[in-house]
Amino acid sequence: MRATKHPSEATLALHAGGDLGPIARWRTERHLRQCELCQEEVAAFQGVRQMVSDLSAMPEIPWNRLASEMQANIRLGLAAGECVREPQPVMTGLARFSGPRAILALASLTAVVAAGLILQRPTPAPADRMMLQATANGIQVRQGSEVMGMTHDAGIRNVSYTANTQGSIGESFVDPVTGDVTVRSVSW
């Protein structure tokens, strides 16, 4: 006869109460048909179920009296709960900035200040880089220690400047007194 593996105790315990799924149940039933040992185990589990079901007996309870007692006690319990319940704090002023809010606000502030410092910091121009700068009365192009610029009289207003990447700058303006139009251009 082929030796069969016994189902686990848990499987037999569940089988005794009809708690197995269809496949596990079929497999267990097939085993039980040929195994007296497991049949006895299942019978023992069914005995336990029977014993436990004896606990279904309920004592006699005076429900009406119990209901009114409970309703009063529950009302009291709810009222007591209201008394001890912490009022929800109203967030005003500095109270809004406590705990995680304060940390978040501080972190945001730090990030803004750091970004400002980085953007504010003057970046030293490398010596060989060409730079266009505004002066008090004109513009100039600087490369290292060499400077090329254009100036005009202090009374001249509405001057238009042009510059290109090859190092050429230009200016054009109208003399307010004479009405002469001036257009100038210089190259590096």
Binding site: A13, D19, V48, I61, L78, G81, E82
Partner: protein, 174 residues
Amino acid sequence: MSDVVEPGLELLDRQNRFVSEHLRQVFRQIYRIVRNVADAQDLTQETFIKALQRQEQLKDDQKAVQWLLRIATNTAIDFIRRNSRVSFSEIEDYPLSQAESPETLVLRSEHSDYLADGLRLLSPRERAALMLRDVEDLPAEEVARRLDCSKATVRSHIANARNKLKRYVEGRKR
């Protein structure tokens, strides 16, 4: 001056109706787990207080009952965790049946003590699962809902509980 607002009559009436409608069901379920009338009474009150404190969640009647019974189960399980004791001492105050003779009551009491000893071997959740399944005769799906866990976990609790009780019975016979 107290700032407690007296609930309106309508609210009070609704609360009383809610308690009356579900009292037996909640009490029975808790009693089956704690096996003591006085404790079951206290825990039933606790369950209703917890539920009514969050009564805005009680709009859907069907869900409200399931939710209430889940609170009841958890309240009973917490109680057993806190006080790992079982008492069957209410027979004098609450006779099982007034028609039973004193001898029958004594035998029943002994049987209850014997069962209570066995139930002490179970974890609170094993005990609750077993009671809901084998005493209340609820399907595993409903037990899972009440215990707020999976069906597989319920099966595991039930198998463990039956195993422990079987060993207890076998040990007592020897």
